[in-house]
């Protein structure tokens, strides 16, 4: 039955990408298409006195120039899809995010004028002839400073820059009492710095209005076309949803940044009707740096208390989270329900309290970036644990073994109820760390470290993480503030000839759904994988979908497919029973055919499908056709976990860090395609390690992004990494039909603190007992730590 599931089937989608035939949004050319360039604010906080477009408008080839004044007041801007309430119950502050700014720009890159012309070059040339008169004001960029009284206001109509405050877990006094009685308390102030997602394909959008059908089409580089359509139609433009088609064609990576509904999507859609021409906008990389929603940007103080035996007794965390100037689609969820809820980690900590203040600043929006909240939670816990081990002079691996939640399968044993709202589905945490220690050769490493004499400092760092994936069920996320359901849909259409078209609401932008999903379908139906096609990314072809993020596609989207497949087989059995003149209960389905149990009488899947569409000899009371849709709304999140170990070497003279080895043992539940899962882990590791060592957006005091290009923002390269050493354990998810948990974010979530911990370990071994090195851990920062 499992000819494909569990096998490293080579990707079916590869050929088009390998031959240059992939179709990304900017590759699409429509007849009579015009090109948009968006003139953006060069200032972080300024009032617009006047915009003079007269000279630009007169240029040959300029089709139109639009400002905020060309957008009706009824179009307020792009919405936020997640509501978090203040501790006192008030709704979070949610100022409008206009498509084009009329009066006040709030970050460098805020869109002010859209120039549309016959070519990109003409649009860009014309933009230089536009004169905007600004009054420039002071800016604030740090999330903690933004909360201070007297800080420059991002939204002058609000009393302060605080978007919301929020708290979760046990009462603070109980946590304080536990900390007070602890034998040891480790405290750490740190920053989880802002990073730029940098999907290699810059965002692009093409709006097209078809007068014949009174219908819009938006092609856009999105992770979730249907959600974009819903948000844009219902909350921005007020156009009927059935009159809009949104297509997310091939998309060159997302990492969260292409989940959100962006202003440019609404602009090209809205103005394509007014102009009467399709309008294409594609971001330059510099624009992507300024406008793709950024990630992380937390400033945190945390305390972890231990008893005399090294058992964790309490955790208190205070975090300031930077929202940027406007609320992006899921921004409020990240520091709260995707962060605070994960602070149980893999440990039995009995008292936990997390307190978050989210603030507006004069910076680009911050939202979900690969891992989204869970990396920040993991960073908090894992940094504290390794630091505590150093301070208490105990082994960091031993300290973890001592505190792990005991194994539970979620079937015969109940899930684990945390102090911070979640109930883990299944877990078995010791084996991942044991396996990682075995792979690293822990004792031998400690020997090598103790004996090192070559002018370098060796260090080892640990991280044992858990994540909540799937981002569902709807009732739970709804209770947590989501303004959308978070299920997934799938339609399985069996063609008369037995070939199968699957329409999924998940969206593949590198994850390999066209292969993994096909493996599931082929095995469940017992047909060759070549007979299956996975269709995604087009709201006219796929009825509905919630898209791909939060490592949810297989666990939620894959499960929806399984539900439809079950319906296909159930109906197929009735047709087969009729053809075989047997009872459906007496049939078994194997290898693509229904057989009467204990006989050699059988009918093939293709014969049944043909009968369903040519129902001449057909059971009574059964509709023709073999085509089913399903919506799958899971009963819980899924909870992958793992253990990561980094080994680094520090050059004592320069502070330069060499990542020598990286070991990752992850448990993502059942695995459909090991090759693809390994690839997801590799990529995640590189992003997590990138944050630790290389990446970090830097705003100066005036709100200028000072490293907004690849000449200054360090993208990790091939020569920054060793080959990764990875393995996995398998603890199936007990509540979805495939037993899968999700693999997209694991690498990113676990890896960052492991690398930082390794550097801190190396420094302590060299006699420099520092608590923290700011990320990215540049050579200078490390060198400075050695100069005390």
């Amino acid at each position: 039955m499992t000819k494909y599931i569990g096998k490293s089937v080579k990707r079916l989608e590869d050929k088009r990408f390998l031959t240059g035939q992939g179709k990304y949004t900017d590759d699409i050319k429509l007849v009579n298409m015009a090109y948009a360039y968006i003139l953006r604010s060069p200032y972080a906080n300024a009032t617009i006195n006047n915009i003079d477009i007269s000279e630009a408008k007169a240029q040959p080839g300029v089709a139109a120039i639009y400002t905020g004044a060309d957008i009706p007041e009824s179009i307020a801007g792009v919405p936020c899809g997640w509501q978090v309430n203040f501790k006192n119950g008030d709704i979070m502050k949610e100022p409008p995010h206009p498509l084009l700014v009329r009066k006040k720009v709030r970050h460098v890159g805020d869109g002010v004028v859209m120039i549309v012309a016959d070519s990109r070059a003409i649009a860009k040339d014309a933009s230089e002839l536009i004169d905007i008169d600004y009054d420039i004001h002071d800016a604030v960029t740090d999330p903690k400073k933004a909360a201070e009284p007297g800080a420059p206001l991002v939204h002058e109509e609000l009393p302060s820059n605080v978007c919301f405050d929020w708290e979760l877990g046990n009462p603070k006094d109980e946590v304080a009492a536990a900390l007070a009685s602890a034998a040891h308390v480790t405290e750490l102030d740190f920053t989880n710095q802002r990073v730029v997602p940098n999907a290699m394909e810059p965002r692009s959008a093409i709006g097209h209005y078809d007068t014949a059908y009174d219908r819009y089409t938006l092609h856009t580089s999105t992770q979730n076309p249907h959600l974009t359509r819903l948000l844009m139609c219902a909350f921005v433009l007020g156009i009927p949803e059935h009159k809009v088609r949104v297509v997310g064609p091939d998309v060159g990576g997302g990492f969260g940044s292409k989940i959100f509904h962006y202003t440019e999507e609404a602009l090209v859609t809205y103005f394509s009707k007014i102009l009467g021409r399709p309008i294409k906008w594609t971001a330059d990389r510099s624009e992507a740096f300024l406008t793709d929603a950024h990630g992380r940007d937390h400033v945190t103080n945390a305390k972890m208390g231990f008893d005399a035996n090294g058992k964790i007794v309490a955790l208190q965390a205070y975090t300031y989270a930077n929202m940027g100037a406007y609320l992006s689609t899921f921004a409020p969820a990240v520091p709260t329900y995707l962060h605070g809820t994960l602070l149980q980690g893999l440990y039995t900590t009995p008292k936990i309290n997390v307190d978050v203040t989210a603030t507006f600043t004069h910076t680009n929006a911050v939202d979900a970036y690969r891992g989204a909240g869970r990396p920040e939670a993991t960073y908090l816990l894992e940094r504290l644990l390794d630091l505590a081990a150093l301070e208490m002079k105990v082994d960091p691996a031993e300290l973890r073994f001592k505190n792990f939640i005991p194994a539970f399968d979620g079937v015969t044993q109940p899930g684990y109820q945390t102090q911070v709202a979640l109930q883990y589905d299944s877990g078995n945490y010791e084996p991942v760390l044991k396996r990682a220690l075995e792979m690293v050769g822990y004792e031998a490493f400690r020997q090598e470290q103790a004996n090192q004499t070559n002018g370098k400092l060796l260090g080892i760092g640990f991280s044992t993480y858990i994540e909540a994936c799937g981002i569902a069920p709807s009732a739970v996320v709804g209770a947590l503030g989501a303004r959308a359901g978070l299920f997934e849909s799938a339609q399985v259409t069996v063609q008369p000839t037995g070939k199968v078209s699957v329409y999924t609401g998940s969206h593949s932008h590198g994850q390999g759904h066209e292969t993994t999903f096909a493996q599931v379908v082929a095995d469940k139906l017992g047909i060759p994988i070549e007979d299956v096609e996975i269709i995604h990314g087009d709201s006219d072809r796929v009825a509905f979908g919630m898209g791909t993020y939060g490592s949810r596609s297989l666990a939620v989207g894959g499960s929806a497919i399984v539900k439809s497949l079950e319906k296909v087989l159930e109906k197929g059995a009735k047709i087969a029973a009729h053809l075989l003149e047997a009872s459906a209960d007496d049939l078994e389905y194997n290898d693509g055919k229904w057989t009467v149990k204990g006989t050699d009488k059988s009918v093939a899947f293709g014969d049944v499908s043909l009968t369903a569409y040519v129902p001449h000899n057909y059971p009574e009371g059964i509709e023709p056709g073999l085509d089913f849709s399903s919506f799958y709304d899971p009963t819980n999140f899924t909870y992958p976990f793992g253990a990561h170990i980094a080994i680094v070497e520090i050059d004592k003279e320069t502070g330069a860090i060499k990542l020598k080895r990286f070991i990752a043992v992850d448990d993502v539940g059942n695995v459909i395609n090991p090759m693809i899962v390994d690839g997801q882990i590799h990529g995640g590791l590189a992003q997590g390690i990138g944050q630790a060592l290389h990446e970090g957006a830097m705003y100066d005091e005036d709100g200028q992004l000072i490293n907004g290009s690849y000449m200054d923002y360090c993208m990790p390269r091939a020569d920054d990494f060793p080959s990764f050493e990875i393995d996995r354990t398998v603890t199936p998810c007990p509540h979805n039909p495939l037993g899968v948990k999700g693999a997209g974010e694991a690498g990113t979530i676990g890896s960052t603190p492991a690398v930082v911990n390794a550097v801190i370990d190396a420094l302590w071994k060299g006699g420099h007992e520092v608590k923290d090195i700011k990320m990215p851990m540049t050579p200078e920062r490390v060198w400075n730590a050695m100069q005390d």
């Binding site: 990109r120 000072i706 690849y710 000449m711 200054d712 200078e780």
Partner: protein, 280 residues
């Protein structure tokens, strides 16, 4: 990213190129400094004169006591040149550290030094190699010693209407060696500190040394005090630690978000020592 409009003229010879130069013209060599600036519209010339097709300035040839590298020679051709590896090993070492494969295939040494980025690699090497830069103008040609060529922040001795046609690298003597070591800016991979060291030995002691540093100050410079201090001494750990105390003396050390002034100065010493150790 689209440059502003300009006219384009392709030159087939240096003479033709010189005749095309005039007001509001700029020379296009490999274009790997110029085109990025054009795309960002930091630079908007009226006319580009393309010298990248002039074959006579692309060659690397043996000029007797020196190797003559055409101004239009690519970094890749320098990296692959065996005679340079023999007579001036730091040239190839540096060429292989510039940019990446694609950049090295197009970017030229002449274009790079004319641009004179303070973090570029070549200036340090040309200083240490005692190179002579041959430039041609409408009146003929002249030679500029590397020591006189790099004059300031993106500033050289090159005048309007001049084209770099060749760089002469003196062949090193027997008992000589050279090397280039570099601490890279992690994003751009330009030099935060690049040290080119050329040392000629007289038996067991240093006869002469030339030490070029780039990335450190507003333009590349020689650490002459250290060169002098090395002379007559054995090139060993004791000497190196003794003479390399302040590699940034008389230099206005740059500071940016990748390296503060203090750290850069420290790295200059560390990398100067590393270069000398490689030769010791």
């Amino acid at each position: 990213m689209i440059p502003t409009s300009f006219d384009y003229k392709k030159a087939n010879s240096v003479e033709e190129a010189l005749s095309m130069l005039g007001d509001d013209t700029q020379i296009l060599g490999g274009g790997h400094s110029l085109i990025p600036a054009l795309k960002l519209r930091l630079n908007s010339p009226g006319t580009l004169v393309d010298i990248s097709k002039i074959s006579s300035i692309k060659e690397i040839s043996d000029g007797g006591d020196s190797i003559a590298i055409g101004g239009g020679a690519t970094h890749a051709s320098i990296a692959n040149d065996k005679s340079l590896d023999q007579y001036c090993p730091m040239m190839g070492q540096a060429a292989r550290e510039i940019g990446d494969i694609q950049v090295r295939n197009v970017g030229t040494i002449g274009g790079s030094i004319a641009h004179a980025d303070p973090a570029a690699d070549w200036p340090a090497i040309l200083l240490a190699a005692d190179a002579r830069i041959v430039v041609q103008n409408k009146n003929g040609s002249r030679e500029i010693a590397a020591d006189q060529f790099f004059k300031g922040f993106f500033e050289t001795a090159l005048e309007e209407g001049e084209i770099i046609t060749a760089i002469h690298i003196p062949k090193s003597q027997k008992n000589s060696n050279s090397c280039y070591v570099k601490f890279k800016q992690p994003a751009s991979r330009f030099a935060i500190v690049g040290v080119a060291a050329a040392v000629e030995m007289d038996g067991s002691v240093v006869k002469s040394a030339r030490l070029g540093l780039t990335g450190v100050g507003e333009f590349a410079y020689r650490a002459t005090a250290i060169e002098n201090a090395l002379t007559g001494k054995p090139l060993n750990e004791t000497t190196i630690n003794e003479v390399v105390q302040n590699a940034t003396e008389n230099t206005n050390v740059m500071s940016d978000h990748f390296a503060s002034e203090k750290y850069r100065a420290h790295l200059a010493n560390v990398y100067l020592k590393r270069a000398l150790r490689k030769l010791g």
